[in-house]
Symmetry: C2
Subunit: 372 residues, 2 copies
């Protein structure tokens, strides 16, 4: 029998970010979280929702997203209450997005514990994910800001790391640790050393905390941002006041990742905790990771994404993403990445997957933004 | 001042053959000869016509092509007289195509000398081509069947070879030789040996001969085919008789290349001559050769074919053929071949270019002939 939802817990899904390294699949009007990248038959956003609903209850999931994505979000998540969709007039990074949710929710429920989880990550082994979140909520209830760090499955240079320190004794959280520090994406030698040293976990951007604790940390480190968010939250649940407040305040908020505004300062003060997550996690940052995610691990495998894909492969491996009904024929190309969309085609290799963002920048510069 | 057209000379352009190794660019309804593969701004068929018109005169070029291509041929060659377009009801190989032209033309002019030149080859250095043809006509006038063999520019395994033997003394043909034998496409070691031995020339499929001499050779080696062609030719210039004769006779004609029905037997009897051609020639047999043809020779070059091509390349080389208005982005792919058409996409490498035909066969077998 499934465990009941967690008391006082609210899930927050920041659904922003285009995923430029997945161009031309991901676009301004079709960001990463609105794609099915796993062949599950539904979008990553919907997968995220399905994962969180048993933990918080369907009525207690808030989505922070751009105004342009409102219709798509409501279509994907028919169960989301209207008052839990927080619309940004423009992207202002994660401190503003998560801080806004915290400020709104704490006015509704002073003791609320929020957990923020990106809309476009892939997680398998839901049971282990559940267990980690339940522990993290127990730690948050004790006044800590808690993250879930992923036990690395390989020496990745694509993620930041969280270094765990001492065991933290909290009821209901047998695996809690304090965090010594955050580390940016390392070079390969460093990543290999981290991989052997079990204390380094991947920073998956999951934060679980009392909303008031998060806001207090933000007040110290980013007082102006904090003040703006409180002012916004005060107006939020009054329909007449909300729109003008967003237009007035939101565009002036500082753009800063929550890692810098909240998590790292909290770590320095010993107020940040971590639960090691023993589940498969991927942020699907580029086509190399998308390719790996959709293969069973064989070197000579060709992964195919796309409902109507008509692919003919001869001695080829890598990934094909097909968004058209065209016949796609590959002959003797290894570790290839082919992304076929109605107005743009990308051909590259897994090795070059990180360079896709450069193409997006070049398209902007050369006046071909119509395909972005 | 340009030399006058050659007396008694008629040019014949067999415009058949889809060019399967150039799929999905070449198709049943858009064969190789109807494409601009050199960036010249016109089709290979038109290039061929322009090359031959000064030698034969515009009124003396016959085109042998499929009924399906009649409109395209007339559009490309507005100067071709209606009575010089010989339509096949279905492809029956080169002996039938060239033999039909010979049989029709010899009835109109008993002394006619025909020269047959494929519609889909690329030739540069027209002055040298002219000189070779004029010599070949002189040799043909003396009763020989004459071919033009191309001085190899590299040890190619993609072409057959003609081995020249003794000097042949004919007025107006200072470079004529008899032919010792024909050789099929060799392996690389053999090709290297041929390249060093200057007596081996590429077989470019050009034959220049009196029409009656060609027909006499055919009568000996393929009497049934010969009889069928004579019967067809007899009906040809009577509009009422032509159609029924084609429908009755053409589908039963033996499919055989003119190399086997005429040229090789003639070589054995010492009746085949060759003029070495000192010009750039390519049959554009696959995308590797198309790529080379459209680059200036640099290893790191990316050739782009297509009027509306919108290509963005980062550290890539090879060839892109664009028949759509899509943005095509290449990152870090070397010697790549990308052919982008409205209903089919091919991604391969120069090294695998010869395997494209296999894909065409596989598409047929798997019921996807709609894109062929």
């Amino acid at each position: 029998m499934a465990e009941p939802a967690i008391d006082d817990f609210y899930a927050v899904i920041p659904a922003g970010g285009i995923g430029s390294r997945l161009w031309p699949l991901s676009r301004a009007d079709a960001p990463k979280f609105l794609h099915d990248l796993t062949g599950s038959g539904q979008t990553l956003l919907r997968d995220t929702w399905d994962r969180l609903a048993p933990l918080s209850g369907e009525d207690r999931i808030a989505v922070v997203t751009g105004r342009a994505h409102r219709a798509a979000v409501e279509r994907e998540l028919p169960g989301v209450p209207d008052h839990n969709v927080f619309l940004e007039s423009e992207p202002r990074d994660s401190s503003a997005a998560i801080g806004l949710a915290a400020a709104i929710l704490v006015r509704r429920e002073p003791d609320v514990i929020i957990g923020s989880f990106a809309a476009d990550h892939v997680i398998r082994q839901t049971r282990q994910f559940d267990f980690a979140v339940r522990q993290a909520v127990a730690v948050a209830r004790a006044g800590y800001i808690c993250t879930i760090g992923i036990q690395p499955s390989e020496p990745s240079v694509g993620f930041g790391y969280v270094k765990q320190a001492d065991e933290l004794i909290v009821d209901g959280a047998p695996e809690a640790y304090t965090v010594e520090r955050f580390v940016e994406k390392p070079d390969l030698d460093t990543a290999k050393a981290y991989f052997l040293d079990r204390a380094y976990l991947w920073n998956a951007g999951m934060f679980i905390t009392r909303a008031d604790v998060l806001l207090a940390e933000l007040a110290v480190n980013e007082p102006e941002l904090h003040a703006g968010l409180l002012e916004l939250a005060e107006a939020w649940d009054d329909r007449a006041l909300r729109g003008p407040a967003v237009d007035r305040i939101w565009p002036g908020l500082k753009k800063i990742a929550i890692d810098y505004s909240v998590a790292e300062p909290a770590a320095e003060k010993g107020r940040l905790a971590v639960i090691p997550g023993h589940f498969d996690w991927d942020d699907v940052g580029d086509f190399a990771s998308l390719s790996k995610l959709n293969s069973s691990g064989g070197r000579n495998e060709l992964a195919i994404l796309g409902e109507d894909a008509r692919v003919l492969s001869d001695a080829s491996s890598g990934i094909v993403v097909s968004q058209t009904k065209r016949v796609i024929s590959l002959i003797g190309v290894r570790d290839i990445v082919v992304v076929d969309t109605p107005d743009a085609l990308l051909v590259t290799t897994s090795e070059n997957a990180q360079r896709v963002k450069g193409v997006v920048d070049a398209l902007k510069l050369t006046g071909r933004g119509d395909v972005l």
